[in-house]
Amino acid sequence: MQIKIILLAGILWLSSSVASAQVAIKASVIYTVSGTSFRNGVILIKNGKIENVGTASAVSIPNGYKVYQANVVTPGLIDARTVIGMSGVLNISVDQDQIEKSNPIQPDLRAIDAYNPDEPLVKIARECGITTIHTGHGIGALVSGQTMIAKTKPGTVERVTIQPLSMLAMTIGPSVSGNYSSPGTKAKQMAMIRTELLKAQFYLKKMSDKDSSKRPTFDLNMDMLSKMLKREIKALITANSSVDIMNAIRLSKEFNLSLVLDGAAEAYRLIDEIKVAKAEIILHATMARNEDDMVNMTRESAQILTAAGIPVSIESGYEGYVPKTRIVLYEAALAMANGLSFENALKSITINPAKLLGIDNRVGSIEIGKDADIVLYDGDPFEYTTKVCTVFIDGEVVSDKCK
């Protein structure tokens, strides 16, 4: 009995020491993203948060901190838009939950009911330094469902989720007509989604009736569209061709939606229109294939949009075959190789998506008080031959591969 108690106490002590581990990271370069970069820098981590950051001469390492060494350090990376955890590595029907083909408009589909934190693609992303993902329902439906934001930790969805409801995922483009017998044309796509939004407007109006007996029965779909009409959640509209992007802008204007343009392959041609519409941009992977509605993509998009004053967040997006997902670290690297500055390339996978997703109070930069999501590299993060060594999420090591 006594032995059991000692054992139990030991286990409790061990587990609590892991949870509240105090860690110091020393690095040749720390890119904080939010402020100055530090050469010979130190980050202190306590209780899963960033306790301090600065140069080694300014930040001394207290006793009892476990010290990690790295060449280069960045904040944990953020994938602005993915479907991993919904879409699995096997690519067979049982691990593909990102699109439900029974109906082209299904706002009631929750991402949290499908997201699998133990999905191998999530592990791969984590090992590549991606610590936060905006994931959920995919492209190819007028409204495919809801999206969510999670840390890439394994465990239950409850344990890893930052926001269970982030946006409503919508698509305007040829992929919708590929998935459903109707709509078959662009005009029909717009007619169908407008019809549904008009219904939701009517529902919203009726719901606010002072006489509760006159209110309609609660409807999951209408409720979710109402949230979007009230701008409580953003409209995440995947649109790539110029025509489809303009359709998305026209729709947002008609219904006063808070528009996030996703994919946006031809956004580089529509700078003024995007600015007037105040649309935010989640840009396709730089290495996405230039086919179908993305045939006209350019690898300079990130640079062109950034130069025009439009912040860019780069996504992995959706892949239907091999590779089953992209990795935003590599996509930002290619954007940099095609004109984006190093600084802006790093922002496109850290602070820019954090702001767009409304989670920049917690993640996206190395600042005191933020979550201790940190990535350690053995060289320039964007160099092809550089390895992601150690990855911290909430102060815990979730990947350590350079031993």
Binding site: V89, E266, N296, M297, T298, G320, Y321, M336, A337
Partner: protein, 433 residues
């Protein structure tokens, strides 16, 4: 066959308008591949061929046009051992075995996909039909020459042929339709049955000798397989999982055909067995495994594992699976996971050339070889490096300083039409056991 060879050789000389004056490139770091890197090297080319490769004191022809490219890097034009550029099509749905189908009858020589190859520094490509069939047909070896017809692009190799035979096993070639295998064992059985027919056909031809009256009737399916059995035409075998790799080796040993294995997601698991069998391997480097069951254990460490075991390793794009414009990048990923820089460079040059029986003409910078080379702005394995120029047989085919050429590197602004490499989705993955 000899006549065909002469025909094509004359075609090639007709259409390659080689420069009259020699061109000298000096000041660059040269990776000749067949030897140590030469800093401040001198490359001399004339009439489509390499005249000399050497140090700064190399002899420079008096009438030469001299280009000082100090600070740049020169290496051989890249050899892509497996690509689907130009629209070779996937393979005919009428049967699982189509040795008579020729990719050359489908390819569009004006495809803008070839601009991607040039932008990526690729000068020679093995264009293959798809992997949805046990045998999808005859592949073609082409150079990125200016061409209006496929004939102008062909490269006849040391064995007198300009292509191989595409085969596949594993899940892509298994499907639930008439004439196709439903299992791995059936896949192998169907291949063996066809090869037995080919052996019989070959024996009849040999027995007939010069007696044309005893010669068997021409058979378009079996003729190319006789070339395979005679070692003229190399089998390019798509295979991913370790058990499928071993099956491919078993088949090649039973019928003694020469083979290059392709993709090899799980090559790292059976590297020693591959080495023992002496089969050269053309590996694909993809940063994320999966997307189909047989690629679940794909590793960027395969190149390193095969190198360590002593296997000859090439790389390929499998364009549109990876992009020809990023061929060097895929090589860098293998270096990141432990492959030597030296072998990684060989894997996109001389090793690939050997796997196509073309190493006497291409794959290294040596006197007498074709003047296929690329000029890089920096280290071949760096994200910051650009392919600046791509030369094919002494002709500059792509130049980043030319906006019309650079447009194909970047894309957008209607530069690419809808004519591009076929991208095959294999929808029969759920058959995987």
């Amino acid at each position: 066959m000899k006549y065909i060879l002469i025909f094509f050789c004359s075609f090639i000389s007709l259409f390659s308008h080689s420069q009259e004056r020699p061109i000298v490139f000096k000041g660059a770091l040269i990776y000749p591949i067949n030897g140590a890197p030469i800093s401040n090297g001198v490359l001399v080319v004339n009439k489509g061929k390499i005249i000399s490769v050497g140090a700064s004191d190399s002899k420079i022809p008096a009438d030469a046009e001299v280009k000082d490219i100090t600070g740049k890097i020169i290496m051989p034009g890249l050899v892509d051992t497996h690509s689907h550029l130009g629209g070779p099509e996937g393979g005919d749905g009428s049967a699982a075995l189509n040795p008579d189908a020729r990719a050359m009858d489908a390819i569009n020589p004006s495809s803008d996909g070839f601009k991607k190859a040039l932008a990526g520094g690729i000068t020679t490509i093995n264009i293959m039909p798809g992997s949805g069939h046990l045998m999808s047909g005859q592949t073609v070896y082409v150079k990125m020459r200016e061409a209006q017809t496929i004939e102008e692009m062909l490269v006849v190799n040391e064995k007198g042929v300009y292509g191989g035979m595409k085969m596949a096993n594993g899940t892509n070639s298994i499907r639930n339709s008439a004439g196709f295998p439903g299992t791995r064992a059936k896949s192998a059985a169907m291949v063996r049955e066809l090869f037995l027919q080919a052996v019989e056909y070959k024996n009849k031809i040999n027995k007939a000798g010069k007696d044309s009256t005893k010669m068997p009737e021409r058979n378009l399916k079996l003729e190319p397989l006789v070339e395979v059995l005679n070692g003229k035409r190399i089998v390019h075998f798509h295979t991913h999982k370790s058990n499928d790799i071993i099956t491919a080796i078993r088949l090649s040993q039973e019928f003694k055909f020469r083979m290059v294995m392709h993709h090899l997601s799980e090559g790292w698991k059976v590297a020693d067995e591959i080495a023992k069998a002496g089969i050269p391997c053309s590996v694909i480097n993809i940063e994320v495994p999966g997307g189909k069951m047989e690629a679940l254990n794909l590793s960027l460490g395969t190149g390193a594992a095969l190198e360590k075991a002593g296997v000859k390793v090439a790389f390929h794009t499998d364009d549109g699976i990876t992009d020809s414009r990023l061929f060097l990048r895929s090589t860098a990923l293998a270096v990141r996971e432990g492959m030597s820089r030296e072998k990684a460079l060989e894997a996109v040059t001389i090793a690939g050339a050997q796997m196509l029986d073309l190493s006497s003409k291409i794959g290294s910078l040596e006197k007498g070889k074709d003047a296929d080379f690329i000029i890089l702005s920096g280290d071949p394995f760096s994200v910051y490096t650009k392919v600046e120029q791509t030369w094919v047989e002494g002709q500059k085919r792509w130049d980043i300083s030319n906006p019309a050429d650079k447009a194909f590197l970047l894309g957008g602004y209607q530069v690419y039409s809808t004519d591009r490499a076929e991208f095959h989705h294999h929808k029969n993955e759920e058959n995987e056991q």
